[in-house]
Amino acid sequence: MTDFKVDRKTFLTTAAIASAGAAAGFPTILRSTASAKDVIKIGLDYEYTGVYAAYAQSETRGAMMAMDAWNARGGVMGGTRVTTVSEDNDNNPGIAVEKARKLVNVDKCAALMGSINSSVSLAVSGAANAMNILYIDSGGHADAVTGADCKYSTFRTCHSTWMETHATGFSLGKKFGKKWYLITPDYAFGHALDAGYRDVAKKIGATIVGDDLTPLGTTDFSPYLTKVLGAKPDLLLVLVQGDDFVNCLKQAHEFGLVGKIPIGGPQVELEAVWALPEAARVGFWGVEWYYKGANVLGTNNKLATNFVNEYRKKYHTPPTARSAFGYITMDRLLWGINQAKSTNAAKIAHALAGAKFQTIFEGTTYYRAADHQLMWPMWLGGIRAKGTPQDKYDVFDIVDRQEPDSIEQSIAEKAKVCKMVWP
């Protein structure tokens, strides 16, 4: 290589490295350099893009309201303000773990909350535990989060899959009868739901006259629906979720099943119902929290009514169960930090475990010490396709309520799978 060409090469290589360095330095421009001593930061690791974006948004809104309430009262630990840092995990556990580590190591968050997607919850739970950071799973339902994969540093607010099946199983069995037909999605969540309902069936003496496993991403439910029509059960349990759920109900309507055979299932999100075509707005479903009704909110529950009214005023739609998860999670997380007077995960966990409190629904509740599951009731709601004349969003008619101790596994049963290791 002749001399002048050496300059070009070196220049280019150096330029490449320099620009890579500059690009890598970009984060400094985006991140605020507020000193960590003035505020306590809570990291939000949610699925802000993708299929669950609407739920992530609801949960975050609820969380922000709780945070604002605490800050209005002077913050935590004698006057320290609370802020949040949010990261999107795109429904991807690997990215979720990366973001969790970024939130803790780079943004210096004191604790983490998050997630709709169960695999994300599980992954972040493990990652947070490895960093000894407190993590509250606000919206991921897999039993393992408070079961086989339980951690001292992980708590869960929303109901577990077991609670969902048992709450609805008892209510639906009571209401419609004991001959059940199940349409089950053929993957982990579906199997868990299936096992849950079989357990309920055993307990109440119901018989399962049919149980079809539908493959992942089924677009066509007609073979199953024709079988259901033939089997004439008292109740059709639709366990499929998401797109499959919409397809199934749409086609159930097409095949004339609606009105002939009662339809029910473990749970449906309010946001999802609002997006359903009217023909598919049928059935009785588990409702984890609802913004109306004495059965849910109680009478004279100021906290609840304030929450609902403020949320509605701010966002123009009513709060959903997801909003409630976010609110309760943030509220209790901050309470725990305040109570423990520390951001040490073990201290917060000790403060939270078993501590009784009242919040935006009727009744007293607590995160169970054995598995860190929030023990609260669950309701059954029938869908009103058009809502009410006063409120088009009011699509649920809450008809029943089940208490937590009857719908979750006992402490003894949980102890068989959950072995919590404290530092």
């Binding site: 280019l12 890579a20 984060p27 690997g94 990366e98 190591n105 599980l122 993957y187 969540f189």
Partner: protein, 338 residues
């Protein structure tokens, strides 16, 4: 034999110094060290793709199957047999190779788009298996596992220790890759890429060469997957999905297929870029998609490839494996194969 010149070595040396200093540099740049670890292991994955795409001339759009197999292989062996760190990586690598052994014979019957489509389809089969066999793999919930200790030393590698382990693996893979593409085997691959029919006329069993290349690529990809599994201590089905394949292929092309360090450049841009973008913008998938489009339309040779092309004297030299435009226009392909 062409050499990369003294300044190429200098650049490489500077690069490795920077990589060695990453644990100190990263915090100053507000980057988590774990992101740097991820950059390295995705660079390894992209190198696997590079071997097939840049040097052999096949489109490995289902490569994530091997990546995912690697992660699950490592995870399952840790969960069920409590193996150590190095053993889990070895098992992950082996899982990738087994995957290639299973689907290779099908893939070899076709080339070009067919090869790509077939690989996507078979990749989806593995995805489906991971999703469906909940008892073994945890299904869509994924699989948690701990990072095992290093055999013989009994120490658990965390953060910086883990980073250096991955850096060591990366260095070994780069060195091996460099030797491979300069070996007679590597040169044969390039010959096949440039004109497979001619290679066949010369008596070479191109199927066998491509198959071996596929096995090596799957091994490297499996190793990368195992590293990733150990990094996040989790394995999940999306690792096998064709979107993951697309991401890794993009990294290869972004940096420059057919170059040694192209995959690393691509991995740096993609992994760090995605991290920054997803923090800054809620709709970051749009600039990501736009990056694909811009890269394909504007920088087909990738960043490093285009940069190297700007260096005087390079354009006219016949650089083995450097030119991605190996396929003559479709018409010519058709005519030669008829």
């Amino acid at each position: 034999m062409k050499s990369i010149g003294i300044w190429g070595w200098v650049a490489t040396a500077i690069l490795f110094v920077l990589l060695l200093l990453a644990p100190q540099l990263a915090p100053r740049l507000h980057l988590a060290l774990t992101i740097c670890t991820d950059v390295l292991l995705f660079a390894i994955a992209a190198m696997a793709v590079n071997l097939l795409l840049g040097y052999t001339g096949v489109l490995p759009f289902g490569n994530a199957a091997f990546f995912g197999l690697g992660a699950y292989g490592a995870g399952l062996s840790i969960q069920n047999f409590h193996v150590g760190f190095i053993t889990s990586l070895a098992i992950g690598t082996l899982a990738g190779v087994v995957g290639a052994l299973l689907i290779g014979p099908f893939l070899l019957r076709r080339r070009g788009i067919y090869f790509a489509l077939l690989m996507i389809a078979f990749g989806q089969v593995f995805y489906f298996i991971a999703y469906r066999f909940t008892n073994v793999t945890g299904g869509e919930d994924g699989m948690n596992f701990t990072r095992p200790a290093l055999e013989g030393f009994g120490i658990h590698l965390q953060d910086a220790g883990f980073y250096y382990a991955i850096l060591l693996i990366f260095t070994l893979v780069v060195a091996g890759f460099w030797l491979l593409v300069r070996s007679p085997f590597g040169r044969t691959l390039v010959a096949i890429k440039q004109n497979e029919v001619r290679a066949r006329y010369l008596g070479l069993n191109t199927d066998r060469f491509i198959f071996v290349a596929l096995l090596i690529s799957a091994a490297i990809e499996g190793l990368a997957g195992a590293c990733y599994g150990l990094s996040i201590m989790f394995a999940y089905p999306l690792l096998l999905d064709w979107h993951q394949s697309g991401d890794i292929v993009l990294m290869t092309i972004l940096g420059g297929a057919g170059t040694i360090f192209g995959p690393l450049v691509g991995a740096i841009i993609y992994v760090i870029g995605e991290d920054i973008l997803s923090t800054a913008l809620p709709w970051w998938q749009i600039p990501l998609g736009a990056l694909f489009v811009a890269c394909v339309l504007g920088f087909p040779k990738g960043l490093l490839g285009t940069a190297l092309d700007l260096l005087p004297g390079r354009k006219n030299r016949i650089e083995p494996g450097h030119d991605l435009d190996f396929a003559a226009p479709i018409i010519a392909d058709r005519e030669t194969t008829r």
